[in-house]
């Protein structure tokens, strides 16, 4: 009885969950220090330890799967469930911010003037940069589908090209949105309009950056021949996440940018 007789993956002891939890403590206390006492030391330490944890933990997952072969079919099924549940939790996270937006905009209070957008707010024109952003993300959804099909067909050149296009579109979105943030005539402190706008679009932008990073890792792994045409769950997870980010933007665009103007 010197080898396992089941197909599951019993992961070896690892320090990364502990370092991850410690980094969470450093980040939260660091945010407090930064907000209230204008000190960034703890926060930077937290971000650093968090990045190191993520890098090393996921590096180990790649080692266990691609290099050691521990990701059997059942293991992959478990990972699929996990990613779906995680994305579901993110949907609920955004649901809260949409709730806040609709709560305030459907029944605008007298101090806003009783109408939405509130008194004194000049919203961004939804037919300008926001529309371009929508097209950019929709196009990135097309390119990532192309990348996936190329991967499944074993077309290495096309899968790399399509992934690169997807990532470039993601970066383009981020640059456009950054410019919008800098140029906007209103700020996060401009009443409930500013709060709902920047918190919802801000968290979305953060998720675009996270998704772009995930896709970049996939690009690097594909360059190093990690994926096969049949087994590439890391890529699929990144694609699911990317589509989720796109859908959230569509909801944001319709609700806040278009209806809310």
């Amino acid at each position: 009885m010197t080898h396992q007789t089941h197909a599951y993956h019993m992961v070896n002891p690892s320090p990364w969950p502990l370092t991850g939890a410690l980094s969470a403590l450093l980040m939260t206390s660091g945010l407090t220090m930064w907000f209230h006492f204008n000190s960034s030391t703890l926060l930077i330490l937290g971000l650093l330890t968090n990045s190191l944890t993520m890098y090393q933990w996921w590096r180990d997952v790649v080692r266990e799967s691609t290099f050691q072969g521990h990701h059997t079919a059942v293991v992959q099924t478990g990972l699929r469930y996990g990613m779906i549940l995680f994305i579901l939790s993110e949907v609920l996270f955004f649901a809260g911010f949409f709730w806040a937006f609709y709560h305030s905009s459907l029944a605008p209070t007298p101090n806003l003037g009783g109408y939405w957008p509130p008194a004194g707010i000049n919203p961004l024109n939804p037919m300008e940069v926001p529309l371009l952003n929508t097209l950019v993300l929709l196009a990135s959804g097309v390119s990532i589908t192309w990348a996936h099909h190329s991967l499944m067909e074993g077309n290495r050149k096309h899968s790399l090209q399509a992934l690169l296009i997807t990532i470039s579109l993601g970066i383009y979105f981020t640059l456009l949105q950054t410019s919008e943030y800098l140029e906007a005539p209103f700020t996060i402190s401009d009443g409930i309009y500013g709060s709902t706008f920047f918190v919802a679009t801000g968290f979305h932008g953060l998720h675009v950056m996270i998704g772009s990073t995930f896709l970049t890792i996939c690009l690097l792994r594909q360059l190093k021949f990690h994926f096969t045409s049949k087994h590439h769950f890391g890529f699929e997870a990144a694609a699911w996440y990317w589509h989720f980010v796109d859908v959230v933007w569509l909801f944001l665009y319709i609700s806040i940018y278009w209806w809310g103007s």
């Binding site: 029944a107 806003l112 003037g113 009783g114 509130p118």
Partner: protein, 88 residues
């Protein structure tokens, strides 16, 4: 015009605001605010056309009955300062 005392109609019977089906629920904030707006819009329009503002008394009575007096004073102050958020 904006001073509450000057706006008070003559003494006499003053009825309770009637049921307004636009605002059927317990929270009557919007009822108060809407009648406040409608009174000022009515006065502005009638004055612009050179007509009597007597029909506007209805809105005055409703908002004066419904609204907390502190709100009315604050809004009138804002109107005087040009910082009132509503469209009149």
């Amino acid at each position: 015009m904006l001073d509450v005392e000057a706006q008070k109609p003559p003494n006499g019977k003053w009825w309770t605001p009637p049921f307004d089906p636009r605002f059927p629920n317990q929270n009557q904030t919007r009822n108060c605010y809407q009648n406040f707006l409608d009174y000022h819009r009515c006065v502005k329009t009638m004055s612009r056309r050179g007509k009597s503002t007597q029909p506007c008394e209805y809105y005055f009575r409703v908002y004066y009955s419904l609204c907390p007096i502190s709100w009315v004073n604050r809004w009138n102050e804002q109107i005087r300062n040009g910082t009132f958020a509503g469209k009149i």
